[in-house]
Amino acid sequence: MGEELKLFGSWGSPFSRRIEIALKIKGVEYEYLEEDIFHNKSALLLKYNPVHKKVPVLVHNSKPIAESQVILEYIDETWNDNPILPRDPYKRAMARFWAKFIDEKCVPTIWKSFMSGGPEREKAHEEACELLSTLEGELKGKKFFGGETVGFVDIVASFISHWVGPVQEAAGVDVLTEDKFPMLYKWAEEFKNCPVIKENLPPRDKILAFFKARLEMLTSSYKNRV
């Protein structure tokens, strides 16, 4: 029986992009289905992810898997070439720890530092800088979080390399700059230049335009509140 692999994703979703990166690293063929996550989620998406109703969802031979980090581990365990997670249990634990740190701490705080207003934004900005500093410390002079090659944490951190740039430009706020976080900045450049990653970058202009519009809407509603 031929293998059937589908990815339900969204062009603007960092979580969805992670899965595409992993599948490309593994050299696995898949069918991509674009979801309109803001206005019109498909019946199939709702069927395959009834609990969270979100992208990404990977459907492998009709069996759905949801939640990006869960999907990444599934991909790594199903296709063994080019491992994403290390073999050693302690190194795996470290990778999972840092991936959790990124998703539970960095992502929400960085978003807040862009999307909120006034004193809330300032506080989030300060927190975001502290978190990025901690993350940068984990690089410890390595080329990637995974060592010599891209790994689990690098893929999860692609939110930082791919999204923070255009969104901070849209917001007019400097979060990730070369002088503030030289090692993280360097990591982002190395990461984006990897052949598999380079061919699969999200559309920067589209992200920039989307967030500019979104922020204008938020700023005007914030000004109306104040």
Partner: protein
Amino acid sequence: MAEEVILLDDFWSSMFGMRCRIALAEKGVKYEYKEEDLRKKSDLLLQMNPIHKKIPVLVHNGRPVCESLVILQYIDETWPGKCSLLPSDPYQRAQARFWADYVDKKFSDLGRKICTAKGEEQEVAKKELIDSLKLLEGELGDKPFFGGEMLGFVDLAIVPFYTYFLAYETCGNFSIEVECPNFIAWTKRCLEIESVSKSLADPQKVYGFVLHLKKVNGIE
């Protein structure tokens, strides 16, 4: 080289610590238990978990592992012979990870709201908790445990929250057993297992702790 395993924990209030205690007991791993006073964290804790400064922390031959679900997987992978927590099939493993993640996303927040909020906010939280438990009942189906015939990753992830149910029910004035009898039946099956019953805190003590926290924070 002699193996050294230490668990930094707070015995009777941390659901996350309870998960680790059950896992270590299931695997038959001998470890040293170090009780932490969360109001006065030890140098060891701050050294082993400098980022979050939280328990539980598993220290194995001097190397720390933090975050309870990360610790559970580490325990499963390091001591693989006995009582597998995760199944061997990648799809089943993905399902187990998904549901453990679901529990983490939902329960702590809802529990807190049920214990501390009033009126509409509390009612909404109660309903959401019941809906979540019913969803989990659906996932359990006819199986004795989420792990199948034996305890598994998801069972360990969820069962410690049971110690807070008395607190939720009393603060929220509702009965979880009436709404979700299959879920409570599952918890009773878990409690018959020694590694679980020895690792879980006493719900009365937990309720007392919740009341104390509310008082300290000026919540009625």
